[in-house]
Structure formats: structure tokens, C-alpha cells
């Protein structure tokens, strides 16, 4: 049962998750950067637009204020122009005085009025402060007001002067349409412009004020600034410098009349040459901009929070399953193979979780599988071990017999000096030794087969050769038993290992001989679909059907109903089965108890090959004659007897305990024992000598070592090998073969 996903401790916190931190950083960056960039861009846009709008609005407001001041001045002009409508008459003064008084009454801004006739003489003077004059005839021809009014079209505006250094006044003079009408000169108190400028509201705290051409403040909502003769010529200059730029002119940034930073725009008021300035606090003017920036920043902040939340959530959604996977992997790594994780995110992660689970399941299955296999192997190994033990036990049992016989015979030999008896005993000793040899051969074969050291060398050969050798090997034994061995000739060629196939057939024939008390044995071949079926028929005791399987087991001997007197370890068929398995040939048995058996081995047939020269067979015996053979064996006794043997065959023998450094004369053949002194082995010695002589001298390795490592080393070297104890005949044929191959 898969264990559920982690719900042990709560999520520790995204800031401890590297994934969470990275996501948070990336999201935050991805969100906040564009937003801040937008906020900055938007702020810049708003700033620009707002400043443009402000300048436009301020200019409009200044225009409006200027228009009102213009009206104020026009009023005065109008009043004065009425006073100069008619030409002067010598007695016109009293009437004109009333006109002047009326003008004073209607225009509070006019403080003094003087009416000058066409000749420049003052006829009427009225004032709010000073005493009035009538027909004073004072000459005002030279006054700038008089001449100015005459020259100007419309009104003459004098410079602004500050009475008592504090009150702003200006002379306005209007000349009549005709010279005789004279000129009306008025002193205007500019404090009355205060009404205009103080009424105009610019935003919350913005103001309008007026500067004269010299930069002196002549009207301002705070009248006291005017009375103090505030000098704003710097501001005036700033505006005049700005004249160069084309309209719409931007608002100027100045220090305002109240001391704070302001944005100001101005317009010119033409006839008096005044500058009407609109001023607004920078803070107030920029308030919408800051509101916009603040808004954008709040949006950015909120979006950042959302982005961080999204990052947190995304990271959590991914990191939690990953954590589960990690924990799951850890558990499984720790051996808890039944652990399964449960991810339900409905996306790739869930699939990953499923894959993980299936992987874990497979791991578990393969683990169990391996366990089973190990068990099996262990069982097999222990079975094999037991089999080996059985083999050893049986072998030692079977070995004791001939050894015991040998003992007796040796004892008898000692006792009995009779030559004839000795000869008889010698024969029996030989038999006993032969039996022991056979036993060892059989044991070695089985162990070699089990070790897997035997490598079949498949070649194409005529099967008749094999049949002939069977005849040679077993016909005599059959005759001795009174049995007939019939062999049917066959001209087929087969692909197999001739030596191993000979062993198989040899064992089958030997078994047939052993277990047939009377009758005949037939050895023949038949072509079948599966290949060439070489069969051995006998009229022996037969094998019961239930035992037909078991006969291929080691040491299985049918209970001798008198048939197994000549020994036989019961290894024969097991060897046959192993060899057949190695060669890939099928072995079959048919048997009827009491009637006989038929053992067959099926071998793949092959096309016939051209007849190989079998020459040198005759010269086999001569092959060794006169050959120089180097024999190396660390066992002095073995070395000596081997040397004597070879010399008997006609070889010139050089004997050494170990690989010699220097040899006199050429060497035709090497015969080397595997186990040499000083950690040297035969293979290494041979290759060293071959290198030394610069040619591949034919070499044969002799070894009594059945260890797999040694066998493999020899097999890997490719050198032919014989096992001790080796019969002289075998040795000779091996050496001959070597020399023939060259």
C-alpha cells in the first residue's frame, strides 16, 4: 500500500525555500520593474502635461487679470476724456469744476484732477486732500503729462511714483480731441488696483500681482508688500528673458513673493507697460502630479504584493511536491521500498509523482526478483555444492577400491618374488591404475564441464572417422564380452567438435557394452530434419521409463543386475548430457526394460568438405625425431621422467626448472608446466621466450591445476594444454600435432 504524501509538519515558509525565494525575486522583478518604469514614465508624462496645462492656465488667468486692470484704467481714461470733450472758454472754469468733482465722486481711484486748457494753463484743480484751485492759470505746458497727453493717442501714463515713499500713484492724462479742449491730468491711487488683484483666485493660494516697468511691485493682494516698495526686478528680468521663447511659454520657477517656491506666468499690459504676474505655489501646482505618482506607487506596491503572493503560491505549489519527491526518494533510498507518494496537482508534477511511484514499484519488484534469484542461485549453488560433496564422497568411495587393491597387490608383489606372478600382478596394477585414471578423468571432466572451461571447437569433419574410432576403441571390449558391435558406415559430414563428440559417442557405446549381457549393439546414423541422428542400439537390460530421466544424473547407476561389474561411476551419461548441452546437440533415449535401449545424439549436418590431407600421419612417429624440445617444470622428478620419455621418442631434450635466460641452439618445441617457481607461470614464460627468440615456437602447457582462473588464463593465451596426469600416448600425439601444425 503506498504511503500517503507528507503531511507531517507544515510548510516552513517560502523564504526558506530556494525555489520560493527565486520565484519571489523573479516575480517581484518582473512585476515591479515594468510597473515602476510605467509609474516613472507616467509621472514624467503627467509632469510635462501638467506643467504645460499650468502654464496655459496661468497665462489665461494673467490675461483675465490684465483685462480687468485694463478696464480699470479705461474707466479713468473715459472719465478724463469726458472732461476734455469741449473746448475751453474763458469762463468755463466753474462748470468744469463741477465736472471735475463729479469725476472725483465717480472714480474713487482718482485722488487729484487738474484740467488744463489748450494753452497749458491750469484752470481747475481738485483734490481729495489738498485745497481746490480754480483758474490758477499756472503754466503746465512743460509738464510731461501735458505734452505726453497731447502726443499720445489715447491716454498718457506716467511712471509710478510712491508718495511718502509708500503709496503708489500714477499720473494719467488725456488730451481732448481738439487742441482747444486742453488736457485732463489725474493722479491715480494704484491702491485701488488692489481690489482687482485681491479678488482673483488662482487655485487655492495662487495670486496675481502687477509690476511696473522698473520691477517695482505696484499691486498685490498683500497691500503691505506694495507699501514696502518691494523690488521684484529680478522676476521681471526673468520674464523678459523668457520673451525669446515662442508661446506657449512655460511657467517660470521662482521664489515667490511670499518666499516659497512658485511657478509663475505673466502677460504684458500694454499702455502702462506693466507686467501682470500669476503665481502659484509649487506644492499646490504639483499636487496633481504627486497624486498621480502616489497613485502609481500604490498600484506598484499592491501589484508587488500580489506578485509576491503569486510567487509564494507558485513556488509552494511546485516546491511541496518536489519536497515530497525528495523525501520519497530518501525513504526509498533508505530501503523503504513500499513507500509511495501522492501528488494531486493535476499537472506534470502529478505525472512525475505517478512515474516515481511506478519506478518505486519496479524497484520493489526487481528487488524482490533479485531476492528470489539470489535465493534460487543460492539454492542452486548449495545444490551444486551438495552435488560436489556427493561427487567427492562417491569418488572417494570409489577410489578406495582400486587403491585398496593396489595396496594388496603391492604387498603381494613384495612378498612374492616369482616373475610370472609379478608379471600377473603388474598387469593387475596397471588395471587398477587405469581404473583410478578413469575415475580421475571422469571427475576432471565433470568439474571441467561445470567450470565451463571446455570450449568446443566446431569443425566440419566426416562422421565416418568417428565411427571408425568407435570401432577401434570398443570392438575388442565387446568381443570380450561376447557381444557383437555392428557399425553402419555413413558418408555424411557433420559440424561439431570431434573430440567432444567422440567422448559422447564413446560413453554411449561404453554404456551399451556395459549394460548388454548378450546380443548385439548397433551404431548407425540416420538423417532427420533436425540433423544427423547418431544412435547406439543395444539389447541390454533396458531402462524403466520412470528412470529414463534420472540416468543422466551424476553417479546414477542402474542397479546392477549383474551388469556393472566392470565399474562405471555413473558419470558417463552426465558427461554425455553436459557435453551435448555444450555443443547444442540433443540427446534422446528410448528403452524397453529387458529388451534394450537406444541412445541417440543429433548433430547438425554440413556439406562435405574437400578431403583434407591427412599426410604426416605416417610421419607422425618421425615428427619428433631429432627435434629439440625445451622442457620446463619446477618438479625435478617430473622433469626428469618427462625428459627421459621424450628422449625415448628421439627428441633432443633441454630440461630446465624455470625459463632459462640463455639457450644454446634453436628450440623446436616448448613443453612447460603451468606452475613454475618464483611466481612465474607457464604462459608468461612461454611468451617471454617467444619474445626473446622473436618467433612463435610451438608450445604446450601442462597443468595439474583445475582452478578456473588458471584454466581461463591458459585458454586466453590460446596455448594448447594437457592435464596431468597425462598418458604418454596422449602427450606424444599432442606434441606431434603441434609440430605438424608448425
Amino acid at each position: 500500500m503506498p504511503t500517503a504524501g507528507s503531511n507531517e509538519r507544515p510548510w516552513p515558509g517560502w523564504w526558506r525555500s530556494a525555489l520560493g525565494r527565486r520565484y519571489a525575486a523573479v516575480f517581484a522583478l518582473l512585476v515591479s520593474l515594468p510597473l515602476l518604469a510605467y509609474a516613472a514614465w507616467s509621472a514624467a508624462q503627467v509632469y510635462r502635461q501638467q506643467r504645460d496645462a499650468l502654464a496655459a492656465v496661468q497665462t489665461a488667468q494673467a490675461d483675465a487679470a490684465a483685462a480687468r486692470i485694463q478696464r480699470f484704467l479705461r474707466e479713468i481714461e473715459l472719465q478724463l476724456s469726458w472732461l476734455t470733450a469741449l473746448p475751453w472758454t474763458p469762463d468755463g472754469a466753474p462748470q468744469r469744476r463741477l465736472d471735475a468733482l463729479r469725476a472725483l465722486r465717480q472714480t474713487p481711484a482718482i485722488a487729484d484732477i487738474a484740467l488744463i486748457d489748450g494753452q497749458g494753463r491750469e484752470r481747475v484743480a481738485e483734490s481729495r486732500l489738498a485745497l481746490g484751485r480754480v483758474d490758477s492759470m499756472a503754466d503746465r505746458m512743460a509738464s510731461p503729462a501735458f505734452s505726453g497727453a497731447r502726443q499720445a493717442r489715447g491716454a498718457y501714463y506716467g511712471d509710478v511714483s510712491f508718495r511718502k515713499g509708500s503709496e503708489p500713484f500714477m499720473t494719467v492724462a488725456v488730451a481732448g480731441p481738439r487742441g482747444e479742449a486742453g488736457v485732463a491730468i489725474a493722479e491715480v491711487s494704484l491702491k485701488y488696483i488692489w481690489d482687482v488683484v485681491s479678488e482673483i483666485r488662482i487655485g487655492d493660494e495662487g495670486i496675481v500681482y502687477v509690476l511696473d516697468p522698473a520691477g517695482r511691485l505696484i499691486a498685490h493682494p498683500d497691500i503691505n508688500l506694495v507699501l514696502r516698495n518691494t523690488d521684484l526686478s529680478a522676476t521681471l528680468r526673468a520674464f523678459e528673458n523668457q520673451k525669446a521663447a515662442a508661446p506657449p511659454r512655460p511657467a517660470l520657477r521662482l521664489v515667490g513673493t511670499r518666499g516659497e517656491p512658485v511657478l509663475a506666468s505673466s502677460v504684458m499690459l500694454a499702455p502702462p507697460g506693466w507686467r501682470v504676474v500669476v503665481e502659484q505655489g509649487l506644492q499646490e501646482a504639483d499636487a496633481p502630479l504627486w497624486a498621480n505618482v502616489q497613485g502609481a506607487l500604490w498600484v506598484a506596491a499592491v501589484s508587488l504584493l500580489l506578485a509576491l503572493s503569486a510567487a509564494l503560491w507558485s513556488a509552494w505549489r511546485i516546491a511541496r511536491p518536489l519536497r515530497e519527491l525528495a523525501q520519497g526518494a530518501e525513504r526509498i533510498g533508505a530501503g523503504q521500498l513500499s513507500h509511495r507518494i501522492a501528488l494531486h496537482s493535476g499537472d506534470e508534477l502529478e505525472r512525475l509523482g505517478e512515474r516515481f511511484n511506478s519506478m518505486a514499484a519496479e524497484l520493489q519488484a526487481s528487488h524482490d526478483n533479485l531476492g528470489r534469484q539470489v535465493e534460487e542461485r543460492t539454492r542452486e549453488l548449495s545444490d551444486a555444492n551438495r552435488a560436489k560433496s556427493r561427487l567427492l564422497a562417491a569418488a572417494s568411495h570409489d577410489l578406495r577400491q582400486p587403491l585398496h587393491a593396489l595396496n594388496l597387490m603391492v604387498a603381494q608383489w613384495r612378498r612374492d618374488p616369482d616373475a610370472a606372478e609379478r608379471r600377473r600382478l603388474g598387469l593387475r596394477v596397471e588395471q587398477a591404475i587405469a581404473a583410478i585414471n578413469a575415475l580421475f578423468d571422469g571427475l576432471l571432466d565433470v568439474s571441467k564441464l561445470d567450470a565451463g572451461v571446455i570450449r568446443p571447437q566446431v569443425e566440419a569433419f566426416p562422421v565416418q572417422r568417428l565411427l571408425d574410432r568407435m570401432d577401434v576403441a570398443h570392438a575388442a571390449a565387446a568381443r570380450d564380452k561376447g557381444l557383437e558391435l555392428r557399425i553402419r558406415p555413413c558418408d555424411a559430414w557433420v559440424a561439431s567438435d570431434p573430440v567432444l563428440l567422440e567422448r559422447i559417442l564413446g560413453n554411449l557405446v561404453a554404456n551399451a557394452v556395459r549394460y548388454t549381457r548378450s546380443g548385439a549393439m548397433l551404431l548407425g546414423c540416420r538423417r532427420t530434419r533436425a540433423g544427423l541422428r547418431i544412435a547406439v542400439w543395444d539389447t541390454g537390460i533396458g531402462i524403466a521409463p520412470d528412470k529414463q530421466e534420472r540416468i543422466f544424473d551424476e553417479f546414477y547407476r542402474l542397479d546392477a543386475e549383474g551388469g556393472a561389474a566392470d565399474g562405471g561411476l555413473g558419470l558417463g551419461l552426465s558427461i554425455v548430457a553436459r557435453l551435448a548441452g555444450l555443443l547444442g546437440h540433443q540427446v534422446s533415449v528410448r528403452s524397453v526394460p529387458g529388451r534394450g535401449s537406444c541412445f541417440a545424439v543429433t548433430v547438425p549436418e554440413t556439406a562435405s568438405q574437400p578431403h583434407l590431407p591427412t599426410a604426416a600421419n605416417d610421419s607422425a612417429i618421425d615428427a619428433l625425431q631429432g627435434r629439440r624440445v625445451l622442457v620446463i617444470d619446477n618438479n625435478a622428478q617430473v622433469l626428469a621422467s618427462t625428459a627421459r620419455l621424450l628422449e625415448g621418442w628421439g627428441c633432443c631434450v633441454l630440461a630446465a626448472h624455470g625459463a632459462p635466460d640463455h639457450v644454446h641452439g634453436p628450440v623446436d618445441l616448448l613443453l612447460v608446466d603451468m606452475r613454475l617457481d618464483h611466481g612465474d607461470d607457464g604462459v608468461a614464460a612461454i611468451s617471454r621466450l617467444r619474445r626473446q627468440w622473436g618467433r612463435d615456437v610451438p608450445a604446450l602447457i601442462l597443468t595439474g591445476d583445475t582452478a578456473i582462473g588458471t584454466r581461463e588464463r591458459i585458454a586466453a593465451s590460446g596455448l594448447p594444454m594437457l592435464e596431468k596426469p597425462v598418458s604418454a600416448l596422449r602427450l606424444r600425439s599432442a606434441l606431434t600435432r603441434l609440430l605438424q601444425r608448425g
Binding site: S32, L36, R97, L98, L101, R102, L104, R105, P108, S127, R128, L129, A130, L131, G132, F162, K164, G165, S166, E167, S189, K191, Y192, I223, N224, L227, R228, N229, Q283, E284, A287, W290, A291, V293, Q294, L297, W298, A300, A301, L304
Partner: protein
């Protein structure tokens, strides 16, 4: 990150708070009763309070008024007392400023005089007072001659004008000279009747009656203001056209007044007080002169006197009292 930036931007967005004094302002009022008594100052005080209210000062919450009335000899002591009680500024009526000036130290003083403050030595110039004193002038001296001229237009016969004045009035001598000069220009004769206290009315008025004046000029002053009604009755009885400086004079039953509008006048003082309380320096506040001079004519009195007011007077009158 964004929040920090937003917070950093907050201060500029908070509109700057008006610099209101944290504690209640204390204004010391030095009223000049002179010979007039306590009531004289009340009119001015009321107008001043109204002016402060217009500018957003609430009496009791925003400011408190400590009133000390006296005459010029005691002005210094009273001023000192006010200064000791920790007033933020002193408002001195008429001649009280002279005593206050001696003891005010750094406390700003707002004066209210009829004459020229530069000549009186109170300020360096009208535009830049330069010290701790500033205030308003009632242009009394400048208007003195004009009043006589207006009176002359109202006189249908005769050329003798009786001038009644408070001899203790600050700058009186200058004013008298101006009136004198104007009388010469206008071809009038003047007789001066000086008062030093309320009681002097009882002696001066019969004298005026006995002298056979044709018109009465009352030099504007608190004393005159307080006894405006007395003078009204007197001039009605004597059938004298009369003129003074304050509208209250004409309202009280006299023929005319020519001078600054009292409300506007005291409003100007309140404006100065407001500025001073908000932290301006007296040296930076220019002395203000009244902008509007109004001619107030009492038509009822004119009819009672049987006066046929000439056109020029009718044209000039800014306000008629019916």
C-alpha cells in the same frame, strides 16, 4: 520598496499648516480716554475686534484682549504693566504710543495716530518702519485743510469759523498750523477753543456762542467723538454748520464729516495685528494710510439749519444721512 518610496513622498503632499500660534495670543490695548472717559475707546475697540474676527481670530480661543485705558502721562506705566503680563503685541491709541514706546522693548506696538509718524519719530519711514512700531495714520493733518474748505462750501454767509480741539491731541500744533494756513488761503477767520477735559465743554461752547461764529470745525479726536451729540445740539441751536473727521460725528446730528471710514480704518489695524501675530516683524510692516476718505453729510441737519447745500457739496458727498 514601493511603500518606502511612497512614504518618503508623503511629507510634500501634506499641505503645510498655517502657522497658528499654539497658545492663545494676548493683545494689549492701550485706550486713550484722555479727557473723554472710558466710553471713548469702546467704539474703536469694537471695530478692532470686528477686524480680527474677519481675519479668523476668535476672541477667547485665538486671542485675548487686555484693555487698559488711560491718558498720556500714565501710558508708560500701563504699557509696562501689559508688557509684564506677557502680551504678544500692544495696540496703542493716539498719544498712548508715546509712553508705550518707552517701555515696550521688543514687543511690537501698533499705533493709530492722526499725524505723521515719521515726524513724530515713531518710524524711520512709512514703507520701512525699521523698529518695533508700526500702525495706521488717520491723515488728520492732511485732511485738516480740506475739512475747512468743505465747511466753507457749506457756509452760506460769514467767514468766521470756530475751531474746537483737544489741546492734548498728539500733533495738535501741526494740525493747527495746517488749519491756520488753510484758513488764510480760504479767506476765513478762525477762533480756537481748546479743551483739556470734558468739563471744558461747558465753558467753550458758550464762548463760541457768544462770539458769533458762522461755522464750527471740530478737530477729530476722541474727546470730540464722545461729545458729538452735545456739539450737535449746540450747533443746531446756534444754527452752525459743523464738520469733523469721523462719520459718527455726522451721524450724531452734526452736519458733515470728512475722514477715513472708521471700520476700514480699524480693519487695517486688525490686519496689521493679524500679521504680527502670525510672526511678521513690525519693522517689515509698512505704515498704512486710509485709502477711502468719505464725506458724510447729514441731510436732515442741513434742512434743519435751512442750508441750501451747493452743487459742489452735493457732488462730493459720498454718503447722505437722511
Amino acid at each position: 520598496m514601493a511603500a518606502a518610496a511612497g512614504i518618503a513622498l508623503l511629507p510634500p503632499l501634506i499641505p503645510p499648516v498655517q502657522a497658528q500660534p499654539s497658545r492663545t495670543a494676548r493683545i494689549g490695548w492701550l485706550g486713550w480716554i484722555g479727557a473723554a472717559g472710558a466710553a471713548a475707546s469702546a467704539l474703536a475697540l469694537a471695530a478692532f475686534r470686528a477686524g480680527l474676527a474677519d481675519r479668523g481670530w476668535a476672541e477667547g480661543r485665538g486671542y485675548e484682549l487686555l484693555v487698559r485705558d488711560g491718558d498720556q502721562p500714565r501710558s508708560a506705566d500701563l504699557a509696562a504693566e501689559l508688557v509684564r503680563s506677557g502680551v504678544d503685541l500692544l495696540v496703542a491709541q493716539g498719544p498712548m504710543v508715546f509712553g508705550a514706546r518707552k517701555v515696550s522693548g521688543a514687543t511690537p506696538v501698533i499705533f493709530n495716530i492722526g499725524g505723521d509718524p515719521v515726524e513724530a519719530g515713531l518710524v524711520a519711514s512709512l514703507s520701512h518702519p525699521g523698529g518695533h512700531l508700526t500702525g495706521v495714520t488717520s491723515l488728520s493733518t492732511e485732511l485738516a485743510g480740506k475739512r475747512l474748505e468743505l465747511l466753507k462750501t457749506a457756509m452760506q454767509w460769514g467767514s468766521h469759523v470756530a475751531a474746537i480741539a483737544n489741546a492734548l491731541h498728539a500733533g495738535f500744533t501741526i494740525e493747527r498750523d495746517a488749519v491756520q494756513a488753510a484758513a488764510r488761503r480760504l479767506g476765513l477767520t478762525l477762533s480756537w477753543h481748546l479743551l483739556k477735559s470734558m468739563d471744558d465743554f461747558d465753558t467753550a461752547l458758550p464762548r463760541i456762542a457768544s462770539e458769533g461764529a458762522h461755522a464750527l470745525l471740530a478737530v477729530p479726536d476722541n474727546l470730540i467723538n464722545v461729545r458729538a451729540q452735545t456739539l450737535a445740539r449746540f450747533s443746531a441751536a446756534q444754527r452752525l454748520p459743523s464738520i469733523s473727521g469721523w462719520a459718527a460725528f455726522a451721524e450724531a446730528g452734526n452736519l458733515m464729516s470728512y475722514g477715513p471710514n472708521v471700520h476700514g480704518y480699524y480693519r487695517q489695524m486688525a490686519a496689521i495685528a493679524d500679521r504680527l501675530l502670525r510672526g511678521a516683524r513690525a519693522a517689515d510692516i509698512a505704515v498704512e494710510q486710509p485709502r477711502d476718505i468719505e464725506l458724510v453729510v447729514n441731510a436732515k441737519v442741513a434742512r434743519a439749519l435751512g442750508l441750501d447745500l451747493p452743487a459742489e457739496l452735493q457732488l462730493r458727498a459720498d454718503r447722505w444721512i437722511e
